[in-house]
Symmetry: C2
Subunit: 267 residues, 2 copies
């Protein structure tokens, strides 16, 4: 038994959709969340910059004595997971492998779509992992850079998001995919709009749930679950104030939390 | 006569639209440009964070021995100009005052619209400056957070940008404005779409040109113009690599330039 917290980080507040799944699957675990709201988004930035930011954040989370790290951010998971694992002697989980496994369970016809930020798609991390696990699967990827700002504007289901979704997703639908990985923590907020655009025949896969389950299995195997009877504590840290935090706490976690602002560049 | 360069900075590469105007008005001046592409955008971030980033950038530009600074970024100009001027013994020019003067020249009916990032609009910098210069002018402001990512996606004139522009601008048109300040360096890239949406009767005001003229007048008055016969040198620095730099060099400056990547967090 290990009562130390799980560290979860994201480029911004989108990772609260991952916190939600971790709270659901492991309600007794303590959680420390960091959102890099001063430097968000990561999805338009280079691998070197995403790696540098990610290493700083793990150095910060280590000061909170975490027992494991979940990289909620798809861009960081896709670009920098290896560098993080090399640099730290800590179990570090990305969202790509669980997302891929969920997609392989979901597809019947072997045609899988992946949507994410420009940096996630450019990394080819999802494609390579799918090819490794099943080389017969056909993968079709598409970067959807507007989806993050649309979600942050609250335009999750109007004519602007609808036309943007049509522009991005029509080519994937035409390829005949039967499942679509939402490869960015913001995209579940646009689920209805994306679902309407691609149609009911295409299953939407959110890697967050599969990630929470993978971490739970790992902690159980290591005998590191928190077996307290009480619900875990949740502590939130951001690198800049943002109204989106309160909004997403309500929307994803259904309760208000306070966040402490820290200077991440010091780490 | 003073051959030291003029420092120009922006949250990203949008400020190249200001470089363009400076090169046009003062072709013999040397220019050092910094774009904070690792931490872009500023428009969704807090005043404290924008101020901190701006001070770091001026410390960097000082190492290039600049004689004056142009804050091309509307968000930094609106939120942090006073803090910058307090911290440095250098002439520092924002885009708000020249933008306001150009708007006052443009309006006939005394109703002026301002569009910008969330942080620019929240600062009320444009409104306060207009009220100070002419309390009879009515000002209507609107934040348009989607315009920056739309410009960066290259969706400057399609149905997505058109519906976004309608959502943002209809209320300003209904107020009866006759001039509209493009209070963000990215917005001139969407000029056609914005113009079509608001109609020919509303004049679009770009603060960049007026800013370049203000700086030229200041340098002339101080006897600090660069009177070399040759064209000035232009040096570009970014905090992260981005394809947008090459794209905008061609689009705004009509020629290719190289940019050097520097670690701005060290300054």
């Amino acid at each position: 038994m290990d009562t130390r917290p799980i560290g979860i980080f994201d480029s911004g507040v989108g990772g609260l959709t991952v916190v939600k799944q971790v709270m659901k699957v492991m309600p007794h675990e303590n959680i420390v969340y960091f959102g890099d709201t001063a430097r968000v988004p990561y999805g338009t930035k280079s691998k070197d910059t995403v790696t540098k930011f990610s290493l700083q954040i793990i150095r910060f989370l280590q000061t909170k004595n975490v027992k494991a790290i979940i990289v909620a951010c798809n861009t960081a998971s896709s670009n920098s997971l290896e560098e993080m694992r090399k640099a730290f002697d800590l179990p570090i989980f990305g969202v790509v492998v669980p997302g891929v496994e969920a997609a392989l369970r979901a597809t019947k016809n072997g045609k899988v779509g992946i949507i994410g930020t420009a940096a996630t798609v450019r990394s080819h991390a999802y494609e390579e992992m799918i090819q490794k696990k099943n080389p017969e699967i056909q993968v079709f990827s598409k970067a959807c850079p507007l989806f993050v700002p649309l979600a942050e504007e609250g335009w999750t289901d109007n004519e602007v998001s609808s036309f943007a979704a049509k522009r991005y997703l029509t080519e994937l639908v035409e390829k005949g995919i039967d499942s679509l990985v939402l490869g960015c923590t913001h995209y579940p907020l646009l689920k209805r709009c994306i679902g309407t655009t691609v149609g009911d025949a295409i299953k939407l896969v959110d890697p967050a749930k599969a990630t929470a389950q993978q971490v739970m299995a790992f902690l159980a195997q290591q005998d590191q679950r928190n077996e307290s009877e009480t619900y875990g504590t949740r502590n939130f840290y951001l690198s800049d104030r943002t109204d989106m935090f309160g909004f997403l706490c309500q929307k994803a976690l259904k309760q208000p939390y306070e966040a402490e602002i820290i200077d991440i560049e010091k780490y």
